[in-house]
């Protein structure tokens, strides 16, 4: 197998911007919708996904020359499941509060498509450095997206950010919208943010067609 493909730096940058797992690939929707009603929960989820993604990419990249085409998905799943179980146990042992809050969503990282997609697209084909760069980039891209969604939801829905009070509800004048921390708030926020990010990218591309401007666009976080 040849190790041709994007370089480590390209892989890293793509994960944050042009191939952002949430806003560009629309992967990992389950945690993006389910655990983003608090910033703290979303960031714990992002950290757990990063741990699993980096470890899985390293192992798969090291094993890439031994993989049989028809057994590769089995190897990916085995690797991912192992690291998810480790992450679940680590959370339960060291941050029991967050582990209780995230409940079943930690074991569900096993079926998070971001990870298996990176194993398939990058780690199974490229060496260890591009695989690590890819995992880091995708993890940061995932964390930035979860941060954006959860910030909007926690501030509008609860008047707080990371547990700190941003504003207090004044009955009759301005009250926090509890719908934002309920499931519909997740769909509303994600849909609007997706639209906003893609609109910014499209707008940035318009003046000069040949200029890849996706990186700048992905950092444009909505206020």
């Amino acid at each position: 197998m040849t190790d041709s493909g994007p370089s480590t730096l390209e892989r890293f940058n793509n994960g944050i911007g042009a191939e952002n797992p949430i806003f560009r690939q629309i992967l990992g929707m389950c945690p993006t919708l389910a655990v983003t009603n608090t910033v703290k929960g979303a960031m714990t989820m992002a950290a757990a996904v990063a741990f699993v993604l980096i470890c899985s990419n390293i192992i798969v990249s090291l094993l890439r020359n031994l993989l049989k085409p028809h057994l590769r998905i089995l190897v990916f799943t085995l690797t991912i499941a192992t690291f998810v179980t480790i992450a679940d146990k680590l959370l339960a042992a060291f941050v029991p509060d967050m582990s209780r809050r995230l409940g079943p969503y930690v074991p569900l990282i096993i079926v998070n498509c971001i990870i298996i997609a990176r194993c398939e697209v990058c780690a199974a084909k490229q060496g260890i450095m591009p695989a690590i760069g890819d995992a880091l980039g995708q993890s940061i891209g995932n964390a930035v997206a979860l941060l954006a969604v959860s910030s909007v939801r926690e501030i509008l829905g609860d008047g707080r950010w990371l547990g700190w009070t941003v504003y207090s509800s004044v009955p009759g004048t301005w009250e926090s919208w509890s719908i934002m921390i309920l499931p519909p708030g997740a769909f509303l926020t994600l849909g609007l943010l997706l639209g906003a990010v893609n609109w910014v990218i499209a707008a940035a591309k318009r003046p000069s067609v040949n200029q890849p401007a996706a990186d700048a666009a992905a950092q444009a976080e909505p206020a």
Partner: protein
């Protein structure tokens, strides 16, 4: 053919073994800590559940795990019992505090719940859970809408009658089940 299969699948078999050993190692090194976290969560609540309690001790009575609530000098001041049952969304786990004679509920704390945020999850808030303290355990508690008037009534959370009812049912069942087991077991000397 047999050799062919092994040639194809040896990597999966080896990985499964290696990963299995790794997980066994993680489990053995973290299991006691995880158990301790769960126990701490319960023990931490005991002072809030039983007046005068400073800590607690786990004990098994007739196959059931209960917690003795102890004051600073180690005298027993009550019991804490775990209960669980189905809520509106998922299983609700809670703790009930009882006095030494088990004829009075001294407190209630929701350990784990996945009720609707903003509505049902108010079962964990003092305004609702505080109502259980001081109730007699001789009669089952009854949920009422609006405000509670009689001694054995609990006011439902508006918009979350099912969650309120579930919690009250779990408390009733937990108390009924445990009272006969605890009769005369308090060590008050």
């Amino acid at each position: 053919m047999k050799e062919n299969y092994l040639k194809q699948s040896w990597l999966v078999i080896v990985l499964a073994l290696v990963f299995g050993v790794a997980l066994a190692f993680v489990q053995t090194s973290l299991a006691s800590r995880i158990e301790q976290n769960k126990l701490d969560l319960t023990l931490k609540q005991i002072p809030a559940l039983v007046p005068g309690a400073a800590g607690g001790r786990q004990e098994t009575i007739s196959g059931k795990t209960v917690f003795q609530a102890l004051d600073k000098s180690g005298r027993q001041v009550g019991w804490v019992v775990k209960g669980s049952g189905l809520g509106f969304a998922d299983v609700i786990e809670l703790l009930v505090g009882l006095n030494n004679d088990t004829d009075r509920i001294t407190g209630m704390y929701v350990l784990d719940q996945k009720e609707t945020p903003g509505l049902g999850n108010k079962i964990g808030e003092e305004a609702f859970s505080g109502q259980f303290a001081g109730k007699s355990s001789a009669r089952p508690l009854v949920v009422v809408k609006g405000s509670a008037s009689a001694g054995n009534q609990v006011a439902a959370i508006s918009g979350a009658t099912i969650s309120s009812q579930s919690v009250t049912d779990i408390v009733n069942k937990t108390v009924q089940d445990i009272r006969p087991l605890l009769a005369g077991k308090s060590k008050r000397d």
